[in-house]
Amino acid sequence: MRVSVALVGGIVLAVLLVPPLVQLDQQAVDLGAKLLPPSWSHPFGTDDLGRDLLLRCIYGLRVSLLVGVAAALTATVIGTAVGATAGALGGWVDRGVMRVVDTVASVPHLLLGIFIVAMFRPGLWPVVVSVALTHWLSTARIVRAEVLSLRSHPYIDAAVSGGASRWRVAVRHLLPAVLPQAALAAALMVPHAMWHESALSFLGLGLPTHMASLGNLIQDARGSLLAGQWWPTLFPGLFIIVPTLAIAGLAGAWRERINPRRRSELML
């Protein structure tokens, strides 16, 4: 828990502070210094164009975190809206919406994500859209279940009897009650979204190749790995694994706190 807090804090500081502070060009190509192993001047070594890998990793993490957070937030907003609507209205709306959710969920989500990014030019936002559109389903299910269980509460009856409209019941009583669950789902989704970004970029479908994202870095490093240069693969790999595990650890601790006995539907 403490380790996670320290790691997440360090990562956030690093991605926020390093780029404006060091003023170094992560794209600076130095063919004379290509594929140098880790040393004091280049702690993570350099890649096949002589670019400093530490700097590229930090920039990559910045992009991946941005994609992860943006996609997780978008997915949570969509999921909460859909789940709350289905749960609050009930009846045929609920059945219809949940069948759509089941249908979308029946398609492997990485495949669906690839299909969605393939419809756009490579860039940051198509990746966000693709990850968001494939990951709102579990949130929708969680929120719907929560709303369904709340709907039969006497305090909703009391609100109805007090003249509250459907909209007011939803905004005043239902949404605030599901917000902790939705926020938790969003936090748990950040690492997942980062992995998807990496996967899509690794497949060459995600971010444009000049942009340092963790997936792109690993993709670029594939050739050198076969030639025995391990550092261009290892360090970006660690940069994916360590932050996502730290975020997941924090979110997991939070989940234990808000509902200790229940296992969330959302698994990483």
Binding site: H153, Y155, A158, V160, S161, G162
Partner: protein
């Protein structure tokens, strides 16, 4: 008049909880409905409060038949009936301070400007002290919370009050205070009351007329004994 005719209602079409129940409450009258736990009296109270749509039967409110329930019911009809539920913990939104809890019906019906007056009027009427108003439900006792729930039911000045086991979880002095608050309100406004409960002594002293469940719902309609203490009979299949 609040009239229920031949109401059949429940949560499972095949096994209704209430069968062919009828009762009337005249304006200004206090009617007590007595019945054992799990017999369906709360469900009947929910039907009367427009919170649960019956499968058959008619509900007349001042001679007008009610056709829609819950959100589909016109707001004027819904707010003409104030409801107090059995468990204050479950009938109060845990995120609202008591003052917001009591004011919520006024805000929901667009009568925000009446909030300060009604709060200063109702707080002493139900026996709450002003310092409690800023607390949240988990920071007050069951009795204090039920007082706030009663204030919430009265805040829109309903013509009918339905108290579903309002005092079942409370001690004698709080019970007496709540009943007195209801009676003062009725004396001032002439509202009718349907008090549902299982405490014969209390209801006999409180109400003008006492009805037993057997007189209200059709007898011999194959009603099955249920385990006591279960609030939602629908979740337990009837013993065969």
């Amino acid at each position: 008049m609040l009239e229920l005719h031949d109401i059949t209602a429940g949560y499972d079409r095949k096994a209704p909880v209430v069968r062919n129940a009828s009762l009337t409450v005249a304006p200004g009258e206090a009617v007590g409905l007595l019945g054992p736990s799990g017999c369906g009296k709360s469900t009947l109270a929910r039907v009367a409060a427009l919170l649960h749509r019956p499968e058959s039967g008619t509900l007349l409110l001042d001679g007008e038949p009610v056709r829609h329930w819950r959100h589909r019911a016109p707001r004027d009809l819904r707010t003409a009936i104030g409801v107090v539920f059995q468990q204050p913990r479950l009938s109060a939104d845990p995120r609202l301070r008591l003052i917001d809890l009591i004011a919520e019906p006024l805000r929901a019906t667009g009568r925000r400007d009446e909030v300060p007056d009604r709060i200063t009027e109702l707080t002493p009427a139900v026996g709450l002290t002003p310092d409690l108003l800023d607390r949240r439900p988990h920071e007050v006792s069951d009795g204090q919370l039920q007082r706030a729930c009663l204030a919430r039911a009265l805040v829109l000045r309903p013509r009918w009050l339905i108290c579903d086991e309002m005092t079942a979880m409370l001690d004698a002095s709080t019970t007496a205070a709540l009943v007195a608050a209801v009676e003062n309100y009725r004396a001032a406004t002439g509202a009718g009351l349907l008090a549902v409960g299982h405490d014969q002594t209390l209801l006999r002293r409180w109400c003008d007329r006492l009805l037993h469940w057997d007189e209200v719902a059709a007898a011999g309609m194959g009603k099955l004994p249920r385990a006591s203490g279960l609030r939602e009979p629908s979740v337990v299949p009837p013993a065969t």
